[in-house]
Symmetry: C2
Subunit: 326 residues, 2 copies
DNA sequence: TTGAAAGCGCTAACAG
DNA sequence: CTGTTAGCGCTTTCAA
């Protein structure tokens, strides 16, 4: 291996430059112990001058808190939320990379999560955990060793902070838009019922249609096009007079659109359709939808684990995007 | 921090179980030194019995070859290939996670890559590099310290192995399909000309149309919808009689479709359009296209860096998917 | 062929 | 408040 230009500046160099021991330098830099303000100032100055960056690998080795953050995807079928997962992982990678860390992905079986969760807790290479599509059961089974370095994208708990999109507002905005444009029999196809973070949009939909004096018409769904197709079929069978559908996500909206087309309904003439996510295909197919700032959410989630925050609940805004379908 | 169930089995345990020293156990497991066949067998057996997995963090610390693989995206504008990048990163993460490793992403400026590349070579936290959208210039500037642990998705070099989709076959298949279905004035909108891996499809297109005795009609493009829209406009201005367009990717096909629609051309009646990638939106919009096995490619790429392969050139097959547009 | 010993860069006990 | 002393788990000289 040829000699590389600058053989990397270590804590030793910083300590020497500041005229202190390695231990003191470490304390000054990490804030993990008593240091005089003056010493801290000097050490920090030396570190900055030398362009010092702590080696996360060494840090991980000694502290037992690994050099990577892992996204744990709770799900039955792994690639349900392929697009969603990919965006979360990529955004997370972008945050972690400059910190010298990496990101990983691991599937967690919804029914018996304990095995995987315990293995994760025991794995010394893991620094933090991002739970995706989690349930209260999974949250309850979270090993204590993971508390304090786990964040949930979705629903949280007393010990696990959560970040998510403001799905309630997204549902409300779509209903209000539909009401404004004259729709009166607005139905909803929900997300998977086992996923707690999908309950808020449903509640918001209920509240919004009732506030407008309109009937509540809900059918259970999921996140796939097939769920949307089936959901729309159920809706048409049960309430043939519906004039609008609010879908749990764009994919479901696409499925609903195909059912509507096949049944001879015109969109938006007979039935308006509104999705959620604003995936690239939504623009191409002129689907009215609401945005899902996945990158912002993933960024915040990773920052939260890195900072070791224990209680927080953040919701990111979702904007209405009006196109041809509603 | 509470005591976790099984405090992880280390090399020490394996060595003791096999009745040898840590050093010998290490040699037996890594193959990094002389060991008797018998000892090796015993150590390996002990390791398997105990479920030993070497801690990549510790290994990274001592060897200086970090605990993560980084995807270096060469590009002018970062999110050009957002969908593509996201799939590569996610697939890579899935391969690396079980190995105890993580994945990262870093942008590399196409014009002056040296700075970033040198920093990467110096970074002890990096185990391997996956180059995305790379050029021969970047390949030439690759620091020696990175050789042997770098792979390119796209074009390779004498020292950098490459994996990619068989873009030539993808172009040929589309042209042949168009010829079979009676098209006679088949044009192509290319990818970005600075990207060498886009040259093969163009050459394949040329060869295929010429083999059919048809005229070559090429305009430069890129990978965005805007490039497709502009490319189609140029095509229509220069050769108003074209009856088919082969696009560098689906996104470009979508852009071309919008231009065709605006110009009053009917698809596929007047002009057929075929894309490349088979993104989810392609199915929704009934776009004829060819597949791009990104996950397979990324998986192979990561495996290649992990194995330290130095010369290899693998092309993954691309299948024609016939839909309504061609 | 093997073992003992050194050390990767860092943090965390424990004295001072 | 600070320095000294131990390691984290592994690979890799160097002797034996």
């Amino acid at each position: 291996m040829p000699a590389d230009a600058h053989p990397a500046v270590t804590l030793e160099h910083v300590a020497r430059a500041a005229g202190v021991s390695r231990a003191t330098a470490s304390r000054a830099l990490t804030g993990g112990g008593p240091v005089s303000t003056e010493t801290q100032r000097q050490v920090r100055a030396a570190a900055r001058a030398l362009g010092y960056v702590a080696d996360p690998v060494a840090r991980a080795l000694v502290s037992g808190r690994g050099a990577r953050v892992v996204v744990a995807v709770v799900s039955d079928c792994t690639d349900v939320s392929c697009w969603y997962l990919a965006r979360v992982v990529t955004a997370g990678a972008q945050v972690l990379t400059p910190e010298g860390l990496g990101i990983g992905v691991v599937p967690v079986p919804r029914q018996r999560p304990a095995g995987v969760l315990d293995a994760l807790a025991r794995d010394r290479t893991i620094g933090g955990l991002v739970l995706l599509n989690t349930t209260r059961e999974v949250l309850a089974e979270l090993p204590r060793g993971l508390v304090g370095r786990t964040v949930s994208i979705g629903v949280g708990s007393a010990t696990v902070p959560a970040v998510d999109v403001d799905g309630a507002a997204a549902a409300r905005r779509r209903v209000e838009h539909l009401v404004r444009s004259g729709r009166r029999r607005i139905a909803m196809i929900t997300g998977p019922s086992w996923l707690p973070c999908t309950h808020r949009p449903v509640a918001a939909y209920r509240a919004a249609v009732q506030a407008a004096g309109l009937p509540v018409r809900v059918v259970p769904g999921g996140f796939c096009a097939a769920d949307g197709a089936a959901g729309a079929a159920t809706l048409l069978a049960r309430w043939p007079d519906i004039d609008a559908i609010v879908a749990s996500c764009d994919e479901v909206a696409f499925g609903a659109l195909s059912t509507l087309r096949r049944s001879g309904r015109r969109v938006p003439g007979d039935v308006a359709v509104a999705g959620f996510d604003d995936v690239p295909a939504a623009e191409l197919t002129d689907l009215t939808t609401t945005t899902h700032p996945v990158a912002d959410i993933a960024t915040a989630a990773v920052r939260t684990v890195l900072d070791g925050v224990r209680d927080e609940q953040r919701f990111f805004p979702s904007e209405l995007v009006v196109r041809a379908s509603a």
